[in-house]
Symmetry: none
Subunit: 266 residues, 2 copies
DNA sequence: AAGTGGTCTAGACCACCGA
DNA sequence: CGGTGGTCTAGACCACTTA
């Protein structure tokens, strides 16, 4: 039992905080490269001479910061060396600019269970064979009969019952999941690319097949990187633009290094 | 010991999750109005017949969602009936995912002074007649002869001399401005849309004219919203994807308001 | 089958706050 | 002072992944 002093200064800080600081520093120093595994909990317990609860609290905070991701049966994977805090954009500003606030109507075209084949599994980042609930929808401006986006939404089987709540106005799918399952959306990932429009999308949007379209895929992740929902949005080229704004942000002061060597670069 | 069944569905979900759901529902229903106190932990322990750990886990998630704030010595205050979603994305995560770090080569194709006509002025958001320095460039993967983006960069006349520094590896234009003029980039705006590719871009990228392309326009603004630089990036549809990641902002728990009135709706 | 993280209990002591 | 949430221990069993 080494019961390492855990750290330099901060002797008065809570034990878990000291662990958090130490681990942050070790991740930043490259001791645990991105993609590698943090030591499993039993090892951290030995090393720091604390209870499992304390170790878990420390690692939980690392996960909250996005530095690591925990995976049952696998371990704790390092995801990033630094918590990046320079330019920040909020998702809500994104939605505003997409004019998605109540001024649009959602129309449900269809709904069915799908089993992920190779291609769908790649899109949904899951294993082939998983079952998902698929919704086929279009979104219209509040006044106007031309839809401006064809949206296909996949919802994880565990949350299938949200389909009973889809009529409640212009709510978002992830909003429904949060509302009815108490499962917080902790991260949203978005991939944007240009495509030649499929026949199905083209027909719905009233444009020619294979004309340019903007495809935005959004991944909604819960705690520990569980994929809760995925939406595939296709916009006609002429009718849409995605705007985002990043602003220079204040540097979160504390948290970081007490006596530890200063971060490189930056 | 009532050991309440906690809720409607979700009988198989973890116990803390059932508590979370129940409490969310009760907050939303107005049973605990905004500003009031949630029952203290001992009461929740009795009511649900669970251990303190489980209660705390449930309440912790409410706090994470911003619905409540815990204050030592006071209690758990209800802060909102519904979740306010604040997600943040950092610009650096964007760049990472675009694989723009040193692994690409920039090739300068041309450089000239342009006077903004009506169309260019609209793009650059300036008045017609303004003079800008225009760079025509392509970006290549570190190994490979196929460019993956055609980039046209406009630099405000005041910073024209950066053209002498363009050879310093794979630096960004805005990096050069910050470096040589001490002018901080305070805000970055980005507009993404799909286009039919122009003949010029198509030739450079080796694709057919009018095939789908992804156009990303970035505006770099300095203090006082001065436009310092604008870059227009055109990517071929098959070869590129823009990825962005938003993470839930950490709700700094208590601390905040001493006596200040709580913020309204948000 | 072994090892990981996920959940949960039953205790304990502490720091903080308000009456 | 009494009650609140904050921290922490020492166990236990489970679900999941990998081999």
């Amino acid at each position: 039992m080494s019961t390492e002093p855990a750290s330099f200064s901060n002797a008065s800080a809570p034990r878990y905080q000291q662990l958090t600081d130490t681990l942050i520093h070790e991740i930043r120093s490259g001791q645990y490269p991105v993609g590698s595994l943090l030591p499993p909990e039993p090892r951290l317990i030995e090393r720091f001479g604390v209870s499992r609860h304390t170790v878990r609290e420390a690692v939980r905070r690392l996960a909250e910061m996005g530095l690591v991701a925990r995976r049952q049966g696998v371990g704790t994977v390092v995801r990033a060396r630094d918590r990046d805090t320079r330019y920040l954009a909020s998702l809500s500003s994104l939605e505003e600019l997409m004019q998605y606030t109540q001024q649009t109507r959602l129309k449900r075209l269809g709904e069915r269970w799908v089993e992920a084949d190779e291609a769908l599994a790649a899109l949904l980042r899951c294993k082939p064979g998983q079952r998902w609930l698929e919704f086929d929808t279009c979104r219209y401006p509040a006044s106007g009969s031309e839809p401006f986006v064809h949206m296909v939404v996949y919802v994880h089987a565990a949350y299938e019952s949200i389909r009973h709540h889809l009529d409640e106005g212009s709510v978002w799918f992830y909003g429904l999941i949060e509302k009815h399952y108490g499962e917080a959306i902790v991260e949203v990932q978005q991939e944007t690319c240009a495509i030649a429009m499929s026949a199905h999308s083209a027909r719905l949007l009233g444009v020619k097949p294979r004309s340019p379209g903007l495809q935005v895929v959004r991944y909604y992740l819960g705690r520990d990187d569980r994929m809760l929902s995925v939406s595939v949005n296709v916009y006609p080229a002429e009718r849409f633009k995605v705007a985002t704004r990043w602003r220079l942000e204040r540097h979160e002061s504390p948290a970081a290094e007490p006596s530890a060597p200063p971060p490189p670069g930056d």
